[in-house]
Amino acid sequence: MISLHWAAGAVILALLAIGWVMIHGGLDAAATFDLYQRHKSWGFVALVLTAGRLAARWLSASPPAPASPRWERRLAALTQGALYALTIGAILSGWLLVSASPLPVPTRFFDLFVIPNIPPSIAPPAPSLFAAAVLGHKLAAWAIALLVALHAAGALKHHFVNGDDVLKRMLPRRRRLAPRA
């Protein structure tokens, strides 16, 4: 569960960074094309990781909530729920915009195999659908960036202000040091 959290977090941050650079980085056409392919490949990795996290959350019991004020617990739950929803939304809108694009470029998953687009019967290459998917993808990405910041700020507040173990218990378990002779 914990390693899935950090893996998904790292992939989502990488997706935000790649997404920003490929649009605003001023790169040439070839580098931009390669970054788009990387972004799409990592997007599908994020989809698998997020689905895995949701399944794990469904199947196992959540750890007890810390003794925080009710509004904080609610805000934390809302932020975490929104992050799940927005991550799935961003990935699906990304897949949709690739599929409905006037120029559908096949997604080559790390140059290993092609991930098919959503079939035209569901996502026809229509400019209006494409524009809506692009807008949805961008809004979801910015919202994720904001919520990740809020999520991290909450974790840091628990550690430094409250002095509890909320952040600590999310860190990899350290090997117990052997007692000194």
Binding site: L27, A29, A30, A31, T32, F33, D34, L103, P106, R108
Partner: protein, 194 residues
Amino acid sequence: MLEKIMKRARIVLAILGVGVLAHSCMAALAAANWRIDPARTHIAFAIDSVGYPRTHGQFRQFQGRISIDFAHPGKSSVAFHVKSGSVDVGSQSFDDYLRSVAFLDSERFPSIDFVSNSVAKVDDHTVRVTGDLTLLGVTRPLTVDVAVEREGSGGRLAFLAKTSIDRLAFGMNSGFPLVSRDVELVISSAATES
């Protein structure tokens, strides 16, 4: 007296001889083939897209033939056969995409051909080449002004041609209007007399 006549006759013959030699040299020059220097030949293109950087690329493999008749420029000719699969935009993955049916369809149409029909001199440094361009199996007329520069004193020429083509006229419709219909072409070459 006889000696004087003989001497003049020799001079006349000598002048005639030089003239004949010069004429035969001119005949040899007529529509001479020039050897294209592949290292100095670049068949480059550029295309714009909305919300995407300008794509620059070139074709790495081609065969060409240039034949020049300085006395009668109209008898000059040029032909280029470009391997469409040799497209290179600086990314393997992007090249593969351009080779696909979306753009060059290289498997079905391995060659892009230009064959001239006529060449006309515009000025001392420019010729206008009119010919047929075949892309994706569709042939359309194309007229290009080619700048020609003689390099050094030897028989070496440099060529530069810039033009643009409408890809829709060849049935290359993918991505339009997101991807521009105009494709800019810049062809530079150098050739030596063979």
